[in-house]
């Protein structure tokens, strides 16, 4: 099996997962006690109005028919009408997704670039103080409620020290960056708009750090344990016998192999990170998809929430596919399977 075959196989296997996911979300949203129309209109609405909305939303049709219609719409980029914005949910998502993408991606990058070296250092000094310190740090990080961590950062860095803005996505700059990708950092760079870039970056730092804490801890601990396991391997002894510098052994050989294990954790953590984004966006008034989703829940806007959940689920699947792709790169044995021995 070559690398390409492996990729195709992995890629194809995400399709049934996505279908299953859509069925699940759809069912959950429509079947569980299920009075979406009543909830949407509030307790004072007349029964007539509720019936009217049910008909309009197609809620009187059998569930499978609703699903098929929904999926048919999905293929054409139609996710149904949002009750709040009275626009198509797909249009809303296109508007809000880039902000969430920007935030979660940066958070994950911070988590990786701090977490991995932290794990390596801990692994190199197993059971000595750097290891214990990193362990304690990790425990603290995963135990912090993200919304509380965000508030503490706001109190300290934004309010007390006044270094960074406490909420929002960009300050009062002119000209505002023209929206091309929706990712402000990229847009302002493309437009060579320095002021906008700085402002966007300043607004991004605190929420991104808040989001990165828990995955950072997971990544550090996973890297540590796989590093220690890998460092015990015979080939490491072989390299040491040849007098190869420790740093090269650690960062070229051991880390590459153990990073494969770390990758799986990164895929998993990305899901948790998307979850935390819902509370962190609220804390920092970040105008992203998660804020939109929370608003949808509070307003009982079902189409909007199904759309948000689908996008989150699909992103998660996509990230895990990327993880598989990278895994094949870092540990070629997964696609060499069957050729050894």
């Amino acid at each position: 099996m070559g690398y390409r075959d492996y990729l195709i196989k992995r890629g194809l296997s995400t399709i049934p997962m996505f279908l299953g996911l859509s069925v699940l979300i759809f069912t959950l949203a429509r079947v569980i006690p299920g009075r979406p129309a009543r909830l949407a209109l509030g307790p004072r609405a007349t029964d007539e109005a509720v019936q009217q909305l049910r008909r309009q939303m197609g809620l009187n049709d059998p569930i499978w028919q609703q699903y098929v219609e929904y999926m048919a719409g999905l293929l054409q980029g139609d996710l149904g009408q949002s009750l709040i914005s009275e626009r198509n949910v797909a249009t809303d998502l296109v508007e809000y997704f880039p902000a969430t993408f920007e935030l979660t991606t940066l958070a994950m990058l911070i988590a990786i670039f701090v977490g991995v070296p932290l794990g390596v250092v801990a692994g190199q000094h197993k059971d000595k103080w750097p290891d214990n310190a990193s362990r304690l740090f990790s425990f603290f990080n995963v135990s912090l409620p993200p919304f509380w961590a965000g508030i503490l950062l706001q109190l300290l860095v934004a309010f007390q020290l006044g270094w960074l803005p406490s909420t929002g996505r960009i300050g009062d700059v002119s000209p505002m960056p023209v929206e091309t990708t929706g990712v402000l950092l990229v847009d302002s760079l493309l437009a060579a708009n320095g002021a906008a870039f700085v402002s966007a970056a300043q607004h991004l730092i605190l929420p991104a750090i808040t989001l990165s804490l828990a995955p950072m801890a997971d990544i550090a601990r996973m890297t540590r344990s796989s590093f220690i396991e890998e460092y015990d391997k015979d080939y490491v002894e072989g390299l040491r016998t040849h007098g190869i510098p420790n740093r090269l052994i650690a960062y070229k050989y051991v880390l590459r192999k153990s990073f494969a294990s770390t990758l799986t954790i990164i895929g998993l953590d990305y899901g948790f990170l998307l979850g935390s984004a819902f509370v962190v966006e609220i804390v920092f008034s970040w105008p992203g998809m998660a804020s939109y989703g929370v608003e949808a829940i509070l307003q009982k806007d079902m189409n909007a929430m199904v759309g948000v959940t689908l996008v989150v689920g699909a992103s998660f699947l996509l990230v895990n596919f990327v993880v598989d792709v990278l895994y094949g790169f870092f540990d070629p044995r997964v696609w060499h399977e069957g050729e050894s021995e």
Partner: protein, 370 residues
């Protein structure tokens, strides 16, 4: 200069584990002269690999602990001078391992690992910048190293050496991997090679090929080699001299033909007898197992298993190495220091030495263990 390249003197190594302290090596003396191949022979677990790792400086410390002794390479005291050890490692000394399946990094093509050995061995430091460049595949004198690698693989009779450099270890058979490992060990043109049972993990048919290839390379370059094995037959094929090791002690040293002609130590005799012979002679082997290192037997470590053990002597008095004739030492109470070789051989050859004590070894064994 007597021409000795490696000189291990009175090396003792202990391991601390939760069971207590294991005194694994107990005063090992070992010499390898220039251009000479010495075989270190003993059962699994007798301390051969610990000896090799001490010489190569890869003994895990802790739990390992070198409690006494010195290792001199070309005059430099490796245990005292860490910098010298790092410099010598990989550059002048090199090592081949037992299991070719696990001694190559699974995530890089074999050529990459060979190139790193060629570039970085000898305790050079690598800056972050250099590591980054390395990870991106840049390296100085890349072509020269590649050429050298190809040539070495070719000499190890690897078909398609050019292509092999770009293959991952999983794509190679065990025999091919071992050839790669040998080529890698030779890439810096070392003067001294340690081979730790390099054929044990391979198929029987491949074993001989590898052994022949290794011998060719050693002769061609006039290398000195310490060849570690549990197989006296292999030792006979490759070695000029043989050191027999038992339970962390060297019990007998001599020229290969001398050892085979007239084994002096009862343990050596046992080992020789346990080699299956074409004549159909049934080897008797040696009863018992390597002793527990946390509480090694008193006196001679071999006495509980020895057919010639003398009660009151072997289980009480520690043995020393006795020189018997030229180039021959043996650590056994049957012989005295300075005894001449003919006398010693006579004692060893006399069945009475063993039979006469027939009743005793059992008692000695019981007494020794209780």
């Amino acid at each position: 200069m007597t021409g000795s390249l490696l000189d291990v003197h009175d090396l003792s190594v202990s391991f601390d584990t939760y069971e207590g302290r294991h005194d694994v090596l107990d005063g090992v003396d070992l010499t390898v002269n220039e251009g000479e191949t010495v075989a270190l022979v003993g059962e699994t677990g007798c301390g051969k690999s610990v000896t090799a790792r001490s010489i190569m400086g890869t003994l895990p410390r802790p739990p390992g602990d070198i409690t006494s002794g010195e290792i001199r390479y070309d005059g430099a005291d490796l245990l005292a001078d860490e910098a010298a050890h790092e410099r010598v490692k990989g550059d002048e000394m090199s090592m081949i391992f037992q299991d070719p399946m696990t001694y190559l990094s699974p995530v890089y093509p074999v050529g990459s690992m060979m190139a790193d050995v060629a570039t970085y061995s000898g305790g050079r430091d690598a800056s972050w910048w250099e590591i980054l460049k390395n990870l991106l595949g840049h390296r100085a004198d890349r072509e020269a190293i590649r050429e050298r690698s190809v040539e070495l693989l070719d000499r190890m009779r690897i078909p398609d050496p050019e292509g092999t450099l770009d293959r991952y270890p999983v794509e190679l058979s065990g025999g091919m991997r071992q050839r790669v490992i040998i080529a890698m060990a030779l890439i810096n043109e070392p003067d001294f090679l340690i081979a730790d049972e390099p054929t044990t993990a391979l198929d029987v048919t491949v074993q001989n090929q590898i052994l022949d290839l290794l011998r060719e390379r050693v002769e061609e370059r006039d290398l000195s080699m310490l060849y570690i094995t549990h197989n006296l037959g292999v030792a006979r094929e490759i070695a000029d001299r043989i050191c027999i090791m038992y339970a962390g002690e060297i019990v007998e040293v001599g020229r290969t033909e001398d050892i085979f002609d007239a084994p002096l130590h009862p343990y050596t005799r046992g080992l020789l007898e346990s080699i299956p012979k074409l004549t159909g002679f049934e080897g008797t082997g040696i009863d018992g197992q390597i002793p527990d290192y946390t509480d090694p037997p008193s006196g001679c470590r071999f006495h509980p298993r020895c057919p010639a053990a003398m009660e009151g002597t072997c289980d009480v008095e520690p043995v020393e190495e006795y020189a018997v004739g030229d180039d021959r030492t043996v650590a056994c109470h049957l012989y005295e220091d300075g005894m001449d070789f003919e006398d010693a051989a006579a004692i060893a050859a006399d069945e009475a030495t063993y039979r006469g004590e027939d009743a005793q070894p059992a008692e000695a064994g019981v007494g020794g263990e209780r």
